[in-house]
Symmetry: D2
Subunit: 248 residues, 4 copies
Amino acid sequence: MVNVAVLGARGRMGAEAARAVQAADKLDLVAELDVDNRLEELVEAGAEVVVDFTHPEAVMDNLRFCVEHGIHAVVGTTGFTDERLDQVRGWLADAPGVGVLIAPNFSVGAVLMMRFAEQAARFFPSVEVVELHHPLKADAPSGTAGRTAELISAARRRAGMGNVPDATTQEVDGARGARVGDVHVHSVRLSGLVAHQEVLFGGQDETLTIRHDSLARTSFMPGVVLGARTVVERPGLTVGLEHYLDLD
Amino acid sequence: MVNVAVLGARGRMGAEAARAVQAADKLDLVAELDVDNRLEELVEAGAEVVVDFTHPEAVMDNLRFCVEHGIHAVVGTTGFTDERLDQVRGWLADAPGVGVLIAPNFSVGAVLMMRFAEQAARFFPSVEVVELHHPLKADAPSGTAGRTAELISAARRRAGMGNVPDATTQEVDGARGARVGDVHVHSVRLSGLVAHQEVLFGGQDETLTIRHDSLARTSFMPGVVLGARTVVERPGLTVGLEHYLDLD
Amino acid sequence: MVNVAVLGARGRMGAEAARAVQAADKLDLVAELDVDNRLEELVEAGAEVVVDFTHPEAVMDNLRFCVEHGIHAVVGTTGFTDERLDQVRGWLADAPGVGVLIAPNFSVGAVLMMRFAEQAARFFPSVEVVELHHPLKADAPSGTAGRTAELISAARRRAGMGNVPDATTQEVDGARGARVGDVHVHSVRLSGLVAHQEVLFGGQDETLTIRHDSLARTSFMPGVVLGARTVVERPGLTVGLEHYLDLD
Amino acid sequence: MVNVAVLGARGRMGAEAARAVQAADKLDLVAELDVDNRLEELVEAGAEVVVDFTHPEAVMDNLRFCVEHGIHAVVGTTGFTDERLDQVRGWLADAPGVGVLIAPNFSVGAVLMMRFAEQAARFFPSVEVVELHHPLKADAPSGTAGRTAELISAARRRAGMGNVPDATTQEVDGARGARVGDVHVHSVRLSGLVAHQEVLFGGQDETLTIRHDSLARTSFMPGVVLGARTVVERPGLTVGLEHYLDLD
């Protein structure tokens, strides 16, 4: 059994994470802390792994405390700049056995979609991304769609591919979507949807489509559990859940 | 048997139409004419129905000739303005038994998609259109997508519906697609595709999707055959194949 | 305002129905009754419309009481045989102003899918149904898929269509699905799904697909609200929400 | 430039392969041979690579000749048993610089679909395969679907996964599809389709779908060209195009 504590346990994601840890084999939930608690309670509870869904303003202090006390960390909190990542690496240099996973996305399905899209990119002259969300979403395209398009764009560049074929000469403004790198991205907003994305690749008389559908934020939880189980064996800083999936 | 002649028989659509008429039960292909032929050959061949896939500059002369000689006409040629339609109606007023069908789209699947979309429109607060075509297409969105969005928009207006829900405040230019009426339309261009369209409706925790896929221009032929068989029983001017489908 | 009472208000569907009525414009929720209540409370509360999500053993008594007291009824309870429907018609013969709607499915999207499928059936030689549900479902295919296939089969028969084309000579048992009438029906069971169905039609080089996705039982509520608003203007017995959608 | 000869050049696949080689950069088509030609013409034409789309009865003689004469081979002909593969390996042992690629499927999209499905298999409790083809197909499920299901089954076994969740207790015969290993496979046959496949994975509140659509046999040609370019650098026997895709 691995002793796990959740930081940010009263937030929506943190509360889900606590439930998921509690339900998971081989993990023991030993503490649920939030903004009113002292970090020392992690030590008192015997936490070996911390799951952090807190706030960009709190997460760096949390991480320094964990690393200094030999506690591994699985982090879903956002706001990590290159500078912040370097700082975490610095702390970890003095704690060689400790592992930290910082992941922008804990959905295994979404992470696989991005990884497969990156791998497929250099085999198809055409590619576009269509993401579909509920109509309350403020940004378009979604963060995941933007990240997917960037990964594809970079893979095409590395493979020396030219532009996608596109003979459009008459376009009603916006019809061909947003450009992220050289990838066209389309954002659909529709009642009855939650969070969905399709990556469409096209070549000679064939297409390959990779689609991810998420119906609830609980879809992130298998990734959190996988992170908590794996982080104890992965010292140092890991950015991105894909590195824990051992895809190769 | 109904005697059918094809005008524009050397063009791509006309040649397909001739083949389809020849293969169809109850239709007899009696003439294949093109720009070098005289219209009188229609009479000499005993044509009862003409299928016209010619050119906007030729089609009005063809139609006047047909109506004056009591020949029914099924027309896939484009370029019909309200003025031209009125002119055809004028000719038909003097030829009470003659029928003319002018159809912008002979694909039964596409016509059903548009009709169903129009019917569904007033039951769902959200709707968007995604059309997907080969990358050689010059216009975006496609004519069918534009027409579909207009039909939906009009149905929403008639039902007194407000705007579609959309909380987007940060948009990378073009992400939310083109606006046709109050419908967002997205155009995907991809190698390996031919001509495809999805209409997505969304309401409380449910979505309804109507999708049409066309793999070749031969998909228009069942509609042409249906037109040639039905026009002899429908005197006067009919605009749109949907009126021959007897959906209600 | 129409005064609405819910019968079976402590059940899952009844509780949702009560919430939906309360939230709806032009409807006033005046009573939430369950098995412990007396039907007379409907009269005392001034109910004009009853929404019944109770039990096959209770619903006939409920309906007789409603009709006798001039209260319209919208019924989602199952178990209606032809005999029961005749009995309801008999009661209504003596109460000419009263309307009763009995609907096996209150999802507007599902009802439209079935109606469109029935309309499209005679235009395509090929048709199959794929339904996809969560893996806790006990029956395969789903009731909605079975009903859809029956409607399609009947429409094909009325149009004098022959069998669907199918050259399969080597089949691993079950690969081609279940036969409902002459329609092949496939049932997918998958974690992460809720309730989904696709009807695929195919003709010459084109396909038409109608898909419905339901993410929660709340997707039935717009149909219940529509029923409660419309039943007061539709005296007599109506079976099926489609008759309230005025599609033609 | 690499000099390429096609064997079986008058067959459908061979003719397409010859066209594809001719159109490809860095490849030179130097001979198109069929059953009436002598294999010595390969040497006379200076062929460095042979593309073989012939017949199970001819292919072993062709391969022995090629290996003995130092000509690399890209083989789409079927009928390779373990015994035959061992025989090819034996010949290659004496010709250390020569490469042979034997591939059951040259569609890059289909190969990627299978590879991604195999990689994703251990992350999702649920998985099913739906393949969709034109109604002239004799076998159900398709060879590609069967192979995909076997790969997924083996990956699940290696990961120690149990059965897929499935509470079905009432099944109309065939509704739940064919079982290949522990994967349910559904075969749709529909006019207007060519060759399509979906692999659906499901976990907690999310699904991942990988779909491949092939519209014509020309979709195999980029894989043939890739094979012809790569085989010269890959001595020994390679079975499966996936090994040339360098997916990691």
